[in-house]
């Protein structure tokens, strides 16, 4: 096992390097740079733009250097000093902006992940064991609908329903009185209440997909000879199902964790914009549109790294569950 962990960790390094290059290339793609955007904004506001000032700003931000030099400065600062640069748009260190929001993003994604698993596991098992029952058809139907509804549309519909029928507005993650308050039990409860809608929205499509996967996996296992053997030995039906076939069916289930996480992060981006959540989504959209390169780059980098770590965790879990994988 330690050898396998080490091997997987080593595999991560080239992926991370490639991701950092892609993230940097991505933020350099738009024509012009932040100074061009700034100049356009200033001339729109009626200010005169002095070319000397612009050149000075470029030099100050290092934008006049060749692209690989810029990349090298950027990445070495991150790796060596943990310095992600300054956000032009917010005029604040990127790391401050990022840490403020990354925590809540992780909380939201993980809660949604747990929600997805807690809901989809029992439904999937039920669907497989009672194949072609009314419950199975209902679960299948809802799974398909869940996959077909875009996250943001579900968020809009829930917001509309809450406003229309309950008379409450459900955007944001905190009530107004708790936004800047220090952490307390009251703030935690408030956060939990506000998390319900985003978690349902985020968990919806994931739950739908996992119910289908769990059902298919379990159906493959249910009619194998070892199940018949266990039944012949007189084990009670539910204990038998939970102890053997479900455990075997969980295996491919865990491997999907790797792609559930990036999907949650992606879904969280759009949902957060609609629901106005203080997570990374709205910040990223604004940074991309304003060409706030260091902020946008750092965020794409962090979100990708989160995903790579998620894949790693799922691979390790899988190896732990199934000895065949770690000795291959």
């Amino acid at each position: 096992m330690p050898r396998y962990v080490l091997k997987r960790l080593l595999y991560m390094i080239p992926t991370l390097v490639a991701i950092s290059i892609v993230a940097f290339a991505l933020i350099q793609l738009p024509p012009g740079d932040f100074v061009t955007t700034l100049a356009a904004q200033m001339s729109q506001a009626g200010d005169t733009v002095d070319p000397n000032t612009l050149a000075m700003l470029r030099r100050q931000y290092g934008l006049d250097q060749p692209i690989w030099v810029q990349y090298w400065i950027w990445i070495s600062n991150i790796v060596l000093y943990g310095d992600f640069g300054r956000s032009f748009d917010w005029d604040a260190p990127v790391s401050d902006l990022l840490w403020n929001r990354l925590g809540l993003t992780v909380v939201l994604s993980l809660t949604a992940l747990v929600f997805t698993w807690v809901i989809s596991l029992p439904i999937g098992i039920y669907s497989a064991v009672r194949k072609y029952s009314i419950g199975d058809y209902a679960a299948t139907f809802f799974a398909f609908v869940g996959l077909a509804v875009p996250n943001f549309l579900l968020a809009l519909i829930l917001m509309y329903a809450a406003l229309r029928f309950l008379g409450i507005s459900i955007d944001g993650l905190f009530s107004r009185e708790y936004v800047d308050a220090p952490w307390s039990w009251g703030k935690f409860v408030d956060l939990a209440q506000h998390l319900i809608v985003p978690v349902i929205v985020l968990g919806c499509s994931g739950t739908a997909a996992l119910v289908r996967i769990m059902r298919a996996n379990l159906l493959d296992e249910l009619y194998k000879p070892y199940v018949t053997t266990a039944r012949a030995k007189g084990l009670s039906e539910w204990r038998l199902i939970l102890k053997y076939p479900v455990r075997a069916a969980l295996n491919p289930f865990v491997s999907t964790l790797g792609w559930t996480l990036p999907e949650l992060v992606s879904g969280a981006t759009v949902t957060a914009i609609v629901l106005n959540l203080p997570t990374t989504g709205p910040l990223l959209l604004r940074a991309l549109i304003a060409q706030d390169v260091y902020l946008a780059g750092a965020m794409i980098l962090m979100l990708s790294v989160l995903t790579v770590i998620g894949t790693l965790i799922s691979d390790l879990l899988l190896a732990w569950l199934d000895p065949r994988i770690r000795y291959k």
Partner: protein, 395 residues
């Protein structure tokens, strides 16, 4: 498991016809016997079709999908108004109900509007006026258009008999544009984004997945690493980054192609995996070895012998990939980094509903979402049925 090479024996068609005539006249037993005999001779495609036909939901969904593509093809004729036609007099007019029976006999009409001042907000708003009747006709003359850009006409499937009278079956938006017409026009863009994007992904997927599965070794490892890497980047932030890079000055058509390219950049990975898996499974099948021993060239082995026998799997995978593309385009356009007005797609239309206050005053702005959900559901059911039918030799 024996697998025939997918070459369809020509005589199955005639045999199938006799089977049908026996079934129509003969008893149940005779039908069963002919069917079993038939199944021995039927080619893979015939078997797949029989299996697909049993899947009622998938067949129904297939019909829905065909209808949606017909709507996309004849959008100008089906829509009562043009995509950009606006009327400042009817901003946020609520949907009207289409009445079919007029005083006990067939006659289409809708009720008109009257203006009322909201007692709470003092805003001007429209309410349906049951006193007035606006007669509605089929094949009426309305706004002129050019079908497929070259057939000039002004006939619309449905519309007010007297041109200019208000008919908003799905309500109107903030500029008084007819939502129904805009959703119909949006169908063309949204549906073709899926098709064009999937075609691009398919080309990449077949070439790279085929190389990967057929040759294996170093090429396989390299391509697999690239796929793993692309899957490791969260898609929406990646797409947002790429889409934000499209210069705002580009003409709408080029933006459209850029978006499809961006979507297929990630989309090909899934198709490549399917193709690779099929190649790996088939590489050592007897009929492939036989073709190779027969002296067939490599290209001929791949395209004449291997490709036809997993074409059904590719069709199923493609059908399941289209809804993903449609959802992605909708999400990007909704965020404002995808397609932009004046192009009309379902995502662009939903962008109008981004603000919860707007949705609260005009909930019918969410109707394009119904179009998205219906389409995606139909394509998913169809794809599911096709996937089951793709392997006609299992159970």
């Amino acid at each position: 498991m024996a697998r025939t090479d997918g070459v369809r024996p020509l005589f199955t068609w005639t045999r199938n016809k006799t089977a049908k005539s026996t079934a129509a006249t003969g008893a149940g037993v005779a039908e069963e016997v002919t069917h079993i005999k038939d199944a021995e001779h039927a080619g893979a495609w015939q078997l797949a079709w029989w299996k697909f036909r049993k899947h009622r939901l998938a067949v129904a969904s297939g019909i829905v999908v065909i209808c949606i593509y017909l709507v996309a093809a004849f959008a100008e004729f089906l829509a009562p108004q043009g995509a950009g036609d606006y009327s400042a007099r009817y901003t946020y007019a609520p949907p009207q109900q289409l009445h079919i029976w007029d005083n006990g006999e067939f006659g289409l009409y809708v009720h008109g509007y009257k203006v009322r001042v909201n007692p709470e907000s003092f805003a001007r708003e429209f309410v349906i006026d049951p006193e007035t009747k606006i007669p509605v006709g089929l094949f009426v003359r309305g706004a002129p258009y050019k079908l497929w850009n070259f057939i000039p006409s002004n006939i619309h499937l449905i519309g007010p008999v007297k041109a200019g009278q208000p008919m908003y079956l799905w309500g109107a938006d903030r500029l008084g544009r007819d939502m129904l017409s805009r959703v119909i026009h949006g169908t063309r863009v949204s549906m073709t984004v899926g098709l064009v994007g999937v075609s691009l992904s398919l080309v990449f997927g077949i070439i790279l997945g085929g190389l990967s599965g057929y040759y294996g070794g170093g090429i396989d490892t390299a391509i697999q690493r690239v796929i793993e890497f692309l899957l490791a980047i969260p898609t929406i932030p990646l797409w947002m980054g790429l889409a934000a890079a499209i210069p705002p000055t580009l003409p709408p058509l080029q933006v459209y192609f850029m978006i499809t390219i961006i979507l297929s950049l990630v989309g090909w990975t899934g198709l490549a995996r399917v193709v690779r898996g099929r190649f790996l499974a088939m590489k050592n099948e007897d009929f492939v070895t036989a073709a190779r021993l027969d002296g067939a060239r490599e290209m001929s082995v791949i395209f004449r012998h291997m490709l036809p026998s997993f074409a059904s799997h590719i069709i199923a995978a493609v059908t399941l990939a289209i809804p993903v593309m449609i959802l992605s385009e909708t999400a990007l356009s909704f965020l404002g980094v995808g397609l932009r007005p004046p192009v009309v797609s379902w995502g662009v239309l939903l962008q109008e509903a981004q603000n919860i206050r707007t949705v609260a005053t005009a909930p019918w702005l969410l109707l394009p979402g119904v179009a998205v959900i219906t389409t995606v559901l139909a394509l998913n059911f169809l794809g599911d049925g096709l996937r089951d039918a793709a392997d006609p030799y299992s159970d």
